[in-house]
Amino acid sequence: MIVLETLLLFFLIISALCTVLIHRLLSAVILFMTYSSFMSIVWVLLRSADLAITEAAVGAGITSVLFFATLRGIDALEGVDQLERK
């Protein structure tokens, strides 16, 4: 179990750093969602299941969807732009 905790902590730090340092906005939002999912598993390992359910629903379900809607509003979804140029 200590191996799993260390691995999850390592992934948390890596995904948080990459969210800040990456240039492409779409990838940053997806990494933010990944951070939320890892955090949800950490809450389960810390034996607070209320927080795990809330973190999973809010992090991966709501804030990420709102971020994607914002990216679409500012036309930063690169896939859409490539379609438009054709």
Partner: protein, 291 residues
């Protein structure tokens, strides 16, 4: 809108008051004033400038006062790790030992946040409501129709959502109703329900959902749930510690109809969270020109 052509009509209808160089006050028709040196217009311009400066001054004073009040309160908090601090006394032990007996809830966390400290959860629900209110107030006029949102939508997504949404909604309702028995509660279940509603709105378009769940219905739902929460748990504050004699008994711990007020409060909190989440999406998502 320009019927009266007066300056205050431009103020109330949100039209620009100054020209581009911010030096000439515009009249009702939007052109620079033809006679800027007449005495009446000078006094109007002076009064408007004075009112704006007073408004800025009072804003700054209110901000400084709030900062001073909060700092004065923080200074009086106990030191970190102090033995006589309220986090280290016998209250937490009592919550753990007698929580199930006194509240009737198997989930001690739900018993704590919705029975012992129900007023704090009321404050959290008010924060959610204020966030929705402020965002919708600021974004009232900036909803432009999005040209990318065409009417012919993704059929595959709609078929998938047809199968998926009932399970998501059922799971959300289950998490809300079982808040006092198993981990979950109003906040998690409301978030799941809100995510399901966002899925539905994203695949069918908002104008289809607005026939059932228009912004007005969402507002009424959240205001109604907040008022019910306030009546149930705020009643003792303004009636001299007399609770509502609604005779909701504690029941046997472990059954679904138990724990007194916790089940109705969980439902209220779930509705508030779901409405907040859905209204955030409906304000920020692109909508078609039907609106």
């Amino acid at each position: 809108m320009n019927a009266n052509n007066s300056f205050w009509d431009r103020v109330t209808h949100g039209q620009p008051l100054w020209d581009e160089s911010h030096s000439v006050l515009l009249s009702g028709t939007g052109r620079p004033d033809p006679k800027p040196r007449s005495a009446r217009r000078r006094s109007t311009r002076g009064r408007v400038r004075l009112a704006l400066k007073l408004y800025q001054l009072f804003t700054i004073l209110t901000g400084i006062f709030l900062m001073a009040a909060l700092c004065a309160a923080i200074v009086q908090l106990p030191a970190f790790g102090d033995e006589s601090a309220p986090t280290n006394n016998e209250v937490s032990q009592r919550y753990v030992e007698q929580g199930m007996v006194e509240t009737g809830a198997t989930n001690t966390v739900a018993g704590m946040i919705l029975d012992y400290r129900a007023f704090d959860t009321f404050g959290e629900s008010i924060v959610l409501f204020c966030a929705t209110f402020c965002v919708s107030f600021l974004m009232r006029h900036s909803r432009k129709p999005d040209a990318l949102c065409d009417k012919s939508q993704d059929k595959l997504l709609q078929i998938t959502v047809n199968i998926l949404f009932p399970f998501v909604a059922l799971y959300g309702v289950y998490v809300v109703l079982n808040g006092h028995l198993s981990p979950g509660g109003g906040f998690s279940g409301g978030a799941i329900l809100g995510a399901g509603l966002i899925l539905l709105a994203a695949s069918y378009g908002e104008s289809s959902i607005a026939k059932i769940l228009s912004p007005r219905v969402v507002t009424y739902l959240s205001v109604g749930s907040l008022s019910i929460y306030a009546a149930l748990k705020g009643f003792s504050f303004y009636s001299g510690a007399n609770h509502l004699n609604l005779d909701i008994s504690k029941g046997t711990p472990g059954t679904i109809l138990s724990a007194g007020f916790i089940l109705p409060l969980n439902c209220c909190v779930g509705i508030i969270v779901a409405c907040t989440v859905y209204s955030f999406f409906s304000l920020f998502a692109p909508h078609d020109s039907y609106d």
